[in-house]
């Protein structure tokens, strides 16, 4: 066990955590926006897979990884659009629609991607060391020797936090998730906003997928997201719908994943399974806690999450 607890080991785990947490981060941030607007989208796994495939395919066609990311954005957004049409306009059950989206994404990506399995992309996001910052001992290795998408993530998190809590559109976003009737009365177009945020959520999930196929594990294989989409859904709750906390959660979950991978090599027997369980158990605890705040004291979920909004006759 002693070789596990060296600083060097921890540093390498954390660095891997940041790298692998990036995919989770993007997907979870996107889902945070969607859920904040009141729409639960359980299709994250499917959207990530389509994003991963699209990113890979577009990169293969164009030779550019960044254009690949753009392709992933489009793919994720289109997938999410299906969910938006079904749940916002046609008022379908959000749980079932999201699950259908996951199934569809898994199936479609595996089908369309069959001929791409095992190929390497012409370009991928390689690690770039930021001058000066990357030379800081430990911290530099962890945070500043990452690929471009991770760096983009560093910028996205505070930007999103600022957007949600400090801007007018962010205020409206929070309002439609908390009390769509009041938002409607204030002249906000609830349906249109929900469409926008669900699609943006999908776009982010697409980026998350591209992180995997173009940065972390360049290439494509069936179901390569391996359940990360579901973890992203859990992350949103764990982070209590706050982008900053979601980011922290992504790092935590990423660390668990990285640690478990490394611990398998070392002969630490079974504790890795329980380590893996902890994030999910934590999420349940967080959810219980968030629900138990007195009804008015909603530090928890957006009050209107999951319920279609239909304007009452005046």
């Amino acid at each position: 066990m002693s070789e596990v607890l060296t600083l060097g080991f921890l540093t390498s785990v954390l660095a891997a955590a940041v790298a692998s947490g990036a995919a989770l981060l993007y997907a979870a941030l996107g889902e945070t926006l969607a859920e904040r607007s009141g729409v639960l989208n359980l299709g994250v796994e499917g959207m990530m897979l389509m994003g991963a495939l699209a990113g890979f395919m577009v990169c293969t066609w164009t030779g550019s990884a960044w254009i690949g990311v753009f392709g992933a954005i489009v793919a994720g957004g289109l997938m999410a659009l299906i969910h938006a049409v079904l749940t916002v306009t046609l008022q379908a059950n959000q749980v079932v629609s999201g699950l259908a989206l996951t199934l569809f994404g898994q199936g479609l990506s595996a089908y369309l991607g069959a001929s791409y399995v095992g190929k390497a992309p012409p370009k991928s996001f390689t690690k770039i060391a930021i001058p000066v910052l990357s030379d800081i001992p430990r911290i530099g290795t962890i945070f500043f020797r990452q690929d471009a998408l991770v760096y983009l993530g560093y910028v996205t998190v505070p930007l999103l936090w600022w957007y949600v809590y400090r801007t007018r559109p962010g205020l409206k976003l929070r309002a439609i998730g908390e009390n769509p009737a009041t938002a409607d009365a204030m002249g906000i177009d609830v349906a249109r906003m929900r469409y926008i945020y669900v699609v943006i959520g999908g776009a982010f999930a697409g980026i998350g997928g591209a992180v995997i196929s173009l940065a972390t594990n360049p290439g494509w294989s069936e179901n390569m997201t391996a359940g990360r989409g579901w973890i992203a859904v859990a992350l949103v709750i764990f982070g209590m719908w706050n982008p900053a906390r979601v980011a922290a959660g992504a790092l935590l979950f990423g660390a668990v994943e990285a640690a478990q991978f490394r611990l398998q090599g070392v002969n630490v027997p079974v504790s890795s399974f329980f380590l893996n369980m902890l994030p999910y158990l934590f999420t349940i605890v967080v959810l219980v806690f968030a629900t138990q705040q007195s009804r008015a004291q909603r530090l928890g979920s957006p009050a209107a999450l999951g319920k279609p909004y239909v304007r009452e006759e005046r």
Binding site: A100, Q106, G107, L108, F273, F274, M277, V288, S301
Partner: protein, 380 residues
């Protein structure tokens, strides 16, 4: 009005205009038509995707159909896959009827398998089939029920959203299974492939002829019958129906909602747990990793497509099993990924969800009428 346009003034002249009127109860006929139409439309859309990908959809569908249903072997394999889908689908439908979104059937399945395996390996390794099989059945149901009752209690007594808790419990269950299979329950004699030792032959569920179709099918059909009786003919089934229709009416009638929520999720989990038991006792004969290729999630599709109706679920589970088996066969016959199956499932479900909208709303022309007077508080 279903749409949410911007805040414009409603017209004040009594004109005739198009509007969407809510249909109070979609008839069975309407639902059946929509179901069939969605399946067909889904197949058509799937076909279009195949064309774009450069395949001939007719060939694909024919290969799938043959792979699933033609010949004794294919048909039996479809029945084999029907079993877990039927049981988990029935389980999930119980919860859905009460508007409880149990997406934890996967975890409940695993826990049922775990408990049943525990009985087979440790508790009754030497017992005869008449003892050990019922014991495993009970254990499987208890395991699944436990895994359902926990989120049930959280929802019933603490109001915690069951969608997320059941989802999280899936991961925990799979990890517990993995832990057992890699750790304390690991078969020391099986190198490489992680799993428990094989169960004694006494635990093998009897099969039909030379096929792999096992007693689990009977479990499923019996469960379907029991469920339809429970829903329609028992007091408890009535309470579930009322609570699912309106919690407030249930409260007004004095029904114990919290208790019912726990019971429903436990019952739901028990069926999924039974499915897990049937899978380990009928097919694998040991607890292994990757026991379920997502049956618990497909179960939700089965339940929804089957309209939460036991008879419908029987039919749909068979058809979806056919889809899965047909998809698997595609790999062999045409070299295509079996992923076509979940893709088609997704598309069909989209069509169904969209189609449902039109059973709930009807486009009509109406004279602009007065809004309902405000009830209750000092309205003027």
């Amino acid at each position: 009005m279903a749409r949410t346009p911007g805040p414009t003034l409603p017209s004040t002249e009594p004109i005739r205009r198009w509007t969407l009127e809510r249909v109070h109860r979609p008839t069975i006929l309407a639902q059946a038509i929509v179901t069939v139409a969605s399946v067909l439309l889904g197949l058509v859309l799937g076909g279009i995707i195949m064309i774009i990908a450069g395949e001939n959809p007719f060939e694909v569908y024919r290969a799938m159909f043959t792979g699933a249903f033609s010949g004794e072997y294919n048909l039996s394999e479809t029945l084999v896959k029907t079993i877990p889908l039927l049981l988990t689908g029935l389980g999930v439908s119980i919860a859905f009827r009460m508007q409880l979104w149990n997406i934890g059937a996967e975890g409940q399945f695993y826990f049922g398998a775990i408990f049943a395996s525990g009985v087979a390996i440790f508790w009754l390794p030497d017992a005869g089939p008449w003892v050990v099989i019922p014991a495993m059945m009970v254990a499987g149901m208890v395991g699944g029920a436990l895994w359902g009752a926990i989120p049930g209690a959280l929802r019933g007594y603490l109001g915690v959203n069951e969608t997320i808790t059941t989802l999280m419990m899936n991961y925990v269950a799979i990890l517990v299974a993995e832990y057992l299979v890699h750790g304390p329950w690991r078969d020391p004699m099986a190198f490489g492939f992680p799993g428990t030792e094989s169960f004694s032959e006494a635990t093998y569920l009897p099969t039909w002829g030379t096929t792999r179709v096992h007693l689990g099918l009977i479990f499923g059909l019996v469960a379907a019958i029991v469920l339809s009786v429970v829903f329609r003919r028992t007091r408890w089934g009535y309470e579930i129906g009322v609570t699912g229709a309106s919690e407030r009416v249930a409260q007004y009638a004095g029904m114990r909602t919290a208790r019912n929520i726990v019971l429903v999720l436990a019952f739901s989990g028990a069926l999924a747990g039974l499915a897990g038991m049937a899978e380990v006792a009928g097919i694998n004969h040991s607890l292994q990793r990757g026991l379920s290729p997502g049956y618990g999630y497909t179960a939700i599709i089965v339940a929804w497509l089957g309209r939460l109706n036991p008879a419908g679920i029987v039919v749909v589970s068979f058809l979806l099993a056919g889809l899965l088996v047909g998809g698997d066969q595609l790999q062999i016959t045409l070299g295509l990924p079996s992923a076509i199956a979940p893709m088609l499932q997704g598309v069909i479900l989209f069509c169904l969800l969209a189609g449902d909208f039109f059973t709930r709303y009807r486009v009509t022309r109406v004279r602009a009428i007065a809004p309902a007077p405000a009830s209750g508080e000092a309205a003027s």
